[in-house]
């Protein structure tokens, strides 16, 4: 009774939602939810789906040039997994009333964003190693907690995604290991890739907590379970020893082990660059989006044909049934 009095401003629906959240059970599509919760989720899941799809490009570029049959097969199935992740996530967003075609439209015309990490170029084979190791590695740090996020369909999609991401991380690290055990030229390729991918990976966790306006509400709604800085620290603590095993140098002069905290201390990334890339001025923003748009436009007549064919079939089976 007491709690009800305190919450006189909450409707019965709102109360039920809050109780569901508090109990740790999942919010499901049929449950009532605040408009902002729905909007936040559609934005986050949509961006996440777009990241999977755009993320196919930097590695897709290297499938035709993979240096061994084994690596080619692994890279093909990795890029294929990312397409699958996109599909699960678009489906999760559709349970909230969003529409895949509409979301893709917004990706194509720049109205929806995707992770900035995919706006960096992949000029070298070692980038396939660094992406798997660091980018998929950072994605895992972000996504493992999302398996427990409050919205049921999103959480379940993340369970499937995370299983595959750990294979992505391993194959990337294995590419790095092989290069680091190879010729000095190969090791140089690996170091160069680490130099280029380290800071973008650090920035994948988003702005610092004191600069991150959206975070607080997401934490309250249990969409996010840990803050950006907590997840970033976790990533650094995992990745630095891995770099040491490779015999590579992390390009951060402020990096050191902190006895007191039991964590690595690390330097400040170039946030100016981060925001520039978000604003669309990264090295590959235009290319990524225009490739996507081109694929979409080139495929229009094919999708139209499939629809027309299906409509004809439906008409025939209808007249046969009559």
């Amino acid at each position: 009774m007491n709690s009800k009095e305190n919450r006189t401003t909450l409707s019965a629906e709102e109360l039920k939602f809050e109780e569901l959240l508090a109990s740790g059970r999942k919010i499901e599509p049929r449950d009532w939810m605040p408009d902002d919760y729905r909007r936040t989720l559609i934005r986050q899941i949509g961006q996440h789906a777009h990241s999977e799809i755009i993320g196919m490009q930097p590695e897709g570029n290297w499938i035709t040039r993979a240096p061994s049959l084994k690596r080619k097969a692994i890279l093909m199935s990795k890029v294929q997994d990312e397409a699958g992740h996109g599909l699960y996530l678009y489906s999760a967003a559709e349970t909230l009333g969003a529409d895949r075609t509409d979301m893709l439209e917004k990706l194509n015309n720049g109205k929806m964003k995707y992770s900035s990490i995919f706006n960096y170029p992949t000029p070298c084979w070692a980038d396939m190693g660094a992406i798997g190791w660091l980018v998929d590695g950072a994605a895992i740090c972000n996504q493992v907690p999302l398996c427990r996020t409050s919205y049921g369909p999103y959480a379940r999609a993340m369970v499937r995604v995370c299983k595959e991401e750990s294979f992505h991380q391993r194959q990337g690290y294995e590419i790095m290991l092989t290069l680091c055990k190879g010729s000095s030229e190969q090791k140089k390729m690996a170091q160069d890739a680490l130099n280029r991918w380290w800071w973008p990976a650090i920035m994948m966790f988003g702005p610092r907590d004191d600069q991150s306006p959206n975070s607080e509400l997401s934490l309250k709604w249990k969409i996010k379970l840990f803050s950006n800085d907590v997840l970033r620290q976790k990533f650094v603590d995992i990745a630095v020893p891995q770099a040491n095993i490779l015999g590579l140098t992390v390009p951060d002069t402020d990096l050191s082990w902190n006895e007191d905290t039991g964590h690595y201390s690390y330097g400040e990334p170039d946030w100016e660059e981060f925001f520039e890339v978000i604003r669309g001025n990264g090295p590959c923003n235009k290319e990524r989006v225009s490739n996507r748009r081109e694929a979409h436009e080139n495929g229009q007549w094919v999708r139209d044909a499939a629809m027309a064919y299906a409509a004809k079939r439906a008409k025939i089976s209808l007249s046969q049934a009559a």
Binding site: R65, P67, G182, A305, Y309
Partner: protein, 257 residues
């Protein structure tokens, strides 16, 4: 080893290599579609087919390599041979073009590949028979997929119909080569190892004619066969394809990747 055993071994090597090269080159073409397909589901489907093909190519290259003296690896065979040493059919090296071109090439190949593999499951060579048995299931899916698209595009919109019809006409001259048996084919057939291409031709033609009709498409007029792939005489497209595929191992040979 007797002279005839040695020649049998080298025949078997070349016969296996031809199949491996077909799968490899077609796989490489499908890889070019990555992140470019008309829709996400199709990106996944084309990659599935590509993955099957690279799996087949690897089994076949490994078998070829085991027949080789001195020793080579699957990667040596895939990355260290020049175009004139490749033995694939000209059909599979033709460029992707638009989606209809890719589907036409794929369908004509699938409609040949499946019955080829079905025959090969009865080969006296147990390794080839086993690889074929595994590949048959995959090829059935490939044929179902490409047949479906022939129908969708052929009997879809007026525009897709025209593009599909044009695509068929473009690759048609390259389909003949699939049925031209050379001396090696005849020796392998004789030995109970290889496939009878005459039988295959009849199966292929009836399947293709039936599908084109149901897709409202017209069978192109037969022209002179363009051949030479299996003798290493390729179109310029293969040179470009290999230049891209082989760039890293060629620029840094003898490295682990």
């Amino acid at each position: 080893m007797s002279a005839s055993a040695a020649s049998t071994k080298s025949d078997l090597f070349t016969y296996t290599l031809r199949q491996a090269d077909n799968s490899m080159v077609l796989c490489q073409r499908l890889c070019e579609w990555a992140a470019r397909a008309p829709e996400l589901e199709e990106d996944i489907a084309l990659t599935n087919i590509g993955l099957d093909l690279i799996g087949q190519a690897r089994s076949l290259y490994q078998y070829s390599a085991s027949l080789c003296d001195p020793k080579v690896s699957e990667d040596d065979l895939a990355f260290m041979r020049d175009a004139h040493q490749w033995t694939n059919l000209l059909l599979v090296e033709q460029p992707n073009g638009d989606f209809a071109d890719t589907i036409a090439r794929q369908y004509f190949y699938d409609a040949w590949h499946l019955p080829f593999l079905e025959q090969l499951t009865r080969s006296h060579d147990t390794t080839l028979a086993a690889i074929a048995a595994k590949s048959v299931k995959e090829a059935k899916y490939h044929l179902r997929h490409s047949s479906m698209w022939i129908k969708r595009l052929g009997d879809g919109t007026e525009y897709s119909h025209q593009r599909m019809q044009d695509a068929i006409a473009t690759v048609w001259p390259f389909t003949k080569e699939m049925f031209v048996a050379d001396e090696l084919d005849l020796r392998m057939l004789e030995a109970g190892i290889g496939v009878d291409l005459d039988v295959l031709k009849r199966a292929w033609e009836s399947q293709v004619v039936a599908l084109l009709i149901s897709a409202t498409l017209t069978k192109p007029i037969d022209s002179e066969a363009i051949t030479g792939g299996r003798q290493g005489q390729h179109t310029e497209y293969l040179h470009d394809l290999l230049a891209e595929m082989q760039v890293l191992p060629r620029s840094m040979p003898n490295r682990q990747w």
